[in-house]
Symmetry: D2
Subunit: 436 residues, 4 copies
């Protein structure tokens, strides 16, 4: 992706190189800590650009990473990436799933401005119908059962496009581009913050496509992030012959079923929205064996971190009591976790003015996300250091909802995102805003 | 296993060739319709013996086989069997899982006497502790996650031993030996009956080790077979973002949990014992996605076929209502199925007298199984044709219960089983009993 | 009821005085410990007979009585009895619900023979339809909401009829007639045994009408009594405004609902039948208040006392875990309780021979009750003292099942019961049987 | 309550006559449609004042009244009111529970200004501890099991106080005072609106004490009313003997328990808060009878009327499916119902300015109620006719939360409420605000 092709085309159509890049990522969706191909593909592009540093592997992940798959699973994804043509050197540096990359360009004495984009995909089987563009135009997922059903292929593309445009435009400052893994499981941001690479960032932009806003619409700052905590409960009972001695078993599936019913029934809270989901469940070994084991993988959310913690404590109580009821043991572990956060008004206004300036169809100042995002870790980290942060929405017409098999991104929104985000970075450096 | 080594050894220890054979099967446990290695190993032994026919493959399975795994799973087991040294010709004949074998020896004008043994294993991970003999003596399961936890390795061994002893002893009649697959999922007997190979059998013995009776004890006839029906329910809902739009999902896991709770709560019945088990369950795709799919694989049982059907109908009602409650669809399918049955008194007495005659430690006339068995299909088929049938118990000390990770067979009981069953076959041919 | 009218009538129709008495009791059904009218009515009859003792009130109840209603409820039933014409002296002696009576007649040196009949009714609203005889013939329940739906009105009538016939027939021995309260809640027999009045009883007959046997059929001994324990769980949480602060409540109704679902799902047992019932439940104070309290009154049963205790322990676990799950407190109390028991063969045979002798239509040696009965306390007490006991079935055509609104007794069975039971008492005294 | 005592006392203590009146009502709490004593007591006061009309009985209730208790219950409350000294003429006019009153004073050509106060109580047993002022000072509830636990005794007192003050102060306009019954069950406002008595009201004030605001604080307008719908489900199954024939019953309690668990688990909604409560439940007739009937009385709420209806539809689905699951019938009926509403800014500002003017400790412009209120029917009716409405909060220190046994009102807030509300009425008449 050379200088000569980046930027909005004269005919108004989407940049063909950005499109090709996005479609390549779309064909290779990878879940948390398994973004081997995706990382290698991004790094290949970064290496063609004039950057001061490209951080990779363990150095970009401080502290403990939650939810890393077993070695066997990592190996499968690693092999698949190599078969698909990933650079073996990059794969080696990623090692046991230290996916993602951080690119740095220093261009003068201006402030350090960060952009965070996420790169992972979801365990959803992509639609095969003709009215689903990726299927019709030949870039449907090649990793069956996984899919870019939340637009992170577009986000990574924003990242590349912004680098090109910013470096091309007399930028005075330091640009840090965070290609973050594992957002869907809210596990990727926390270790990236812990690595210290964000410590000097004074202004942070994060971005997301879609969110029920049409192509051509830009939202200055999203709020309403739900704090979230992923949890897993493993129930361990005792098997027995279901016909011969049902009374000798200790039934882990009954415990899990009791827990599921009561998890969804945790009391709502006066202080705001809460959520519970038993997203993945399983148990048992044979139809004629009283099930000795079962598990629930799920999550709790809250409009504030306190509300999330309220729900999390209730969930713990439910899981333990369900185990006690059926005389089985239960172990609960917490996986990914993210706090709530708010976009800073000064940066929100900078974005809305920028968006109006570059001529988008429609500008919205703020909207509510109503979901979770571990970008909030990064936003809070920057804010706690006295910096400013905002989470920008880039509208896109999407036929199916987020996290469904027919989700897709209108590629015209790629340029909109690059336009607005790069211009916002440039303005920030040129005229650094201060908190209101 | 040549003529010279069969029969009880002078030192009273178990026949070393029978032991070796049983241990080989024990190392290669295979589930229903996947008994490739087991079948090939049995056939290799049969071919060394003087038999009139060895039936294999499709010819021994009439009608439709229930619960056959997908082609990919069959292929995995097939490959594993070939790697373990199974005869490729036999494997080819088994094809898409037409496992099992029927051996026939015609020796004069006497009656047709059948013996049925089952050969499949269970999805249980075998114990690795030192006090578990197969682990300590090196014949623990090599198919990790599967185990002969119900003694079918011993049953197949009984079959071979009985052939040797009967053919060696001036038997006047026709012996038919049924090595039946898929008992644990109660799917193997029904198609074997439908093949017609049982039509001429006048007397049928089936046998089982253990059942909480010690080594050296023999039970003339087991009763109390619970009729059983395996069922699978697939719930199909609609996914949605668990944080952003919980109300847009239709939650298949909630439906399954509601069903599980109510399945176990189906009313008990005045007419006798009933059972329900939700043995294997699963659902969902991601922690942050409202689960769009879930399944329950389970079974219902009854002391009589009517009681099983009562429970089955209630289960159907529960599954449908649970789906309706959460606005998801459900499809239920029935897999294996077996009726109840009773042992015939004339044959029970023949066995108890035989057992007393060969000098076992203890003889019990009848006991209750309290479980299910698709041997009942064969028993009923023979009885409906005017023949007699019994289900013989051969005691064995077993450290862990049936269907647990520490189940094992005392090998001294191998000879006991062969002694009693072969002698019973010979007596039946010599002096055919009549129904009382 | 004088000598001149007792005994079977020449025309074969039922004894008109017995019928009148039974109908009077039928019109005044009373639940456990509230049998004020019933007791007074029985005592009025007893006083007209030549008895040596009529025991009443506290003296017939040793130890602690379970399940006694609150003083207010007792007072209501007491007033109702007085209004219906009960003798105030008897009512005074009954006091705080010490209902029931024991009549004694000593007639020589023969053995002490006991007959136990129960006298209480059920909280069922009696049918008003024309095909329900009590409604059509004007003796339907006058205590709306309560009904003799299990034939205890007939049992009390048997008691009177037997006294008349036995005393009229040269009986040599001591007759003890136990009119026992509170059988339906299995609370009446235990204190009566504790009073010591049964200590000298050498032979005990108990009797029940119906049980799905037709008029004119007699069963020598019932078995298959399920051991039973009644329990009550009181959940205590915390109320809160259901709209304003749902999270501040601790929801006792959710706890109870969770418990109910899991109580019915307690694993079935290989050793025999078990039962669970959450028979009466309630909770909450207002639609807009998170429910702070709830209760479950129920019972567990088992084919043996051990099976009942197994189920009772599981129930305790379920109730406690359900409370923990919703962070409420629970207190469980046990009310009535009865063990299993068996009828003695020697007495069973005496009854069947007697029944054949008096010319009933049909005689059955033994049958299974499949329910519970606290007569078992008395049977066990006599048996533990070296005596013999049997529980006699007296068939009666009953249109509706036991414990339903259309249950009724064919009055022709009153004489059958009196004939068989009185004759059995006389035979026992004349030729005391010994245990086999 | 004469002119000489109304108004704030010079010593700053609460008006003694208002206090006495409030305490009298507090001693006689009555639930919806049973406010016989309360109505009579209010009317007695109204009759001592110079009013143009006092409307009573059927004329103040148009359309159908929901949730009216059975005649027997009404009769009990009527008798209790008469015993407590209620005027028999008023009681006669109230008839079958047509409780409440509307007072009218016409004083010139100014606008019609309405004030709505509610007068009913809750089924809560009042605290007896010494630190509960009504218990300590002798005006605890005399209707055991019922309690003014939401301050409606204070509201009715506000009404009287406002009449006195307004009529005393040269008011130019028409004052309509609505003493509304049945707010707690949200049944009283709808028929009052249907009576037409609100049709000419141009400005409406409603008021509530407490709401977690301290004594001396006033809130100009409450918002965040949850729309609400009360519902009742009656399950009808079939009884059977729980020991003898559990399979013959159709268990209504199991159906209700399944419903309760799933009601609380209705999916949360992205658009805003929802609530569900199974507030009162019951079922069954005897511990040894499979329960033939059960009921749930509950409510659903939503931040908007649409969200309430979403939840209501889900509840309907759950109730029907729970019935189907246990093969019982269910009938659902809707009782009280109220929409959401918003306070008008012009009136909110008038109140806050008024409050500041009369010197309260603290003024809050708006707050969220987070509960339901059928005052919204009246507010919407006035607003739809082009008028303005606001729901004023009058803070009061309350030891226990609303709807708890230790709730109480600081009597100093009585004068605050009267001051602010009467002054607001006067200002409105003097200088009628217009919508912004």
């Amino acid at each position: 992706m050379g200088t000569e092709t980046s930027g909005r085309q004269s005919d108004g159509g989407p940049d063909s190189e950005l499109v090709a890049f996005r479609r390549d990522l779309h064909r290779h969706p990878e879940p948390a800590w398994c973004e081997f191909y995706t990382t290698a593909r991004i790094v290949a592009e970064l290496e063609r650009r004039d950057l001061d540093a490209i951080h990779l592997g363990e150095t970009i992940h401080g502290g403990q990473r939650r939810g890393v798959p077993e070695a066997e699973t990592l190996a499968e994804w690693r092999d698949r990436a190599l078969e698909a043509g990933a650079d073996p050197d990059v794969i080696a540096e990623i090692g046991e799933g230290y996916t993602g990359a951080v690119a740095v360009a220093e261009r003068g004495d201006g402030p350090v401005v960060g952009l965070r984009v996420d790169i992972d995909a979801l365990p959803i089987t992509e639609s095969t119908t003709d009215d689903h563009v990726p299927a019709a135009e030949g870039f449907r997922s090649e990793n069956e059962g996984y899919m870019h059903a939340c637009g992170h292929d577009a986000h990574a593309t924003f990242g590349l496009g912004v680098i090109d445009r910013v470096l091309d435009s007399g930028f005075d400052g330091t640009l840090k581009l965070f290609f973050q893994p594992g957002e869907e499981q809210v596990v990727g941001a926390e270790p990236m913050v812990a690595s210290g690479l964000l410590d000097d960032v004074e202004y942070l932009f994060a971005a997301h496509v879609g969110l029920d806003h049409p192509t051509g619409e830009v939202i200055g700052g999203m709020d309403g992030f739900l704090a979230v905590s992923h949890l897993r409960a493993d129930f361990a009972g005792e098997p027995s012959h279901a016909g011969g001695h049902p009374e000798q078993g200790r039934n882990a599936v009954q415990a899990a079923a009791t827990a599921i019913q009561n998890l969804y029934a945790i009391p709502r809270h006066a202080d705001g929205a809460t959520r519970v989901n038993a997203g993945i469940v399983g148990g048992g070994t044979g139809t004629n064996i009283i099930p000795e084991e079962a598990f629930i993988e799920g999550e709790v959310r809250g409009e504030t971190t306190a509300l999330m913690e309220y729900t999390d404590e209730k969930a713990e109580t439910v899981l333990q009591a369900a185990a006690d009821m059926h005389e089985v043991d239960v172990e609960t572990t917490r996986a990914g976790r993210a706090p709530s956060a708010e976009s800073d008004q000064a940066l929100v206004e900078l974005v809305t003015e920028t968006a109006a300036g570059v001529g988008v169809d429609s500008v919205v100042e703020r909207d509510e996300l109503g979901g979770s995002e571990d970008a909030t870790y990064m936003m809070r980290a920057v804010q706690e250091n006295g910096g400013l942060a905002t989470y920008v929405g880039v509208g896109t017409d999407h036929p199916g909802g987020h996290h469904t098999a027919t989700f897709d991104v209108a590629e015209a929104s790629l340029d909109v995102g690059v336009d607005v985000l790069s211009e916002a970075v440039l303005r920030t450096a040129a005229d650094p805003p201060v908190a209101e």
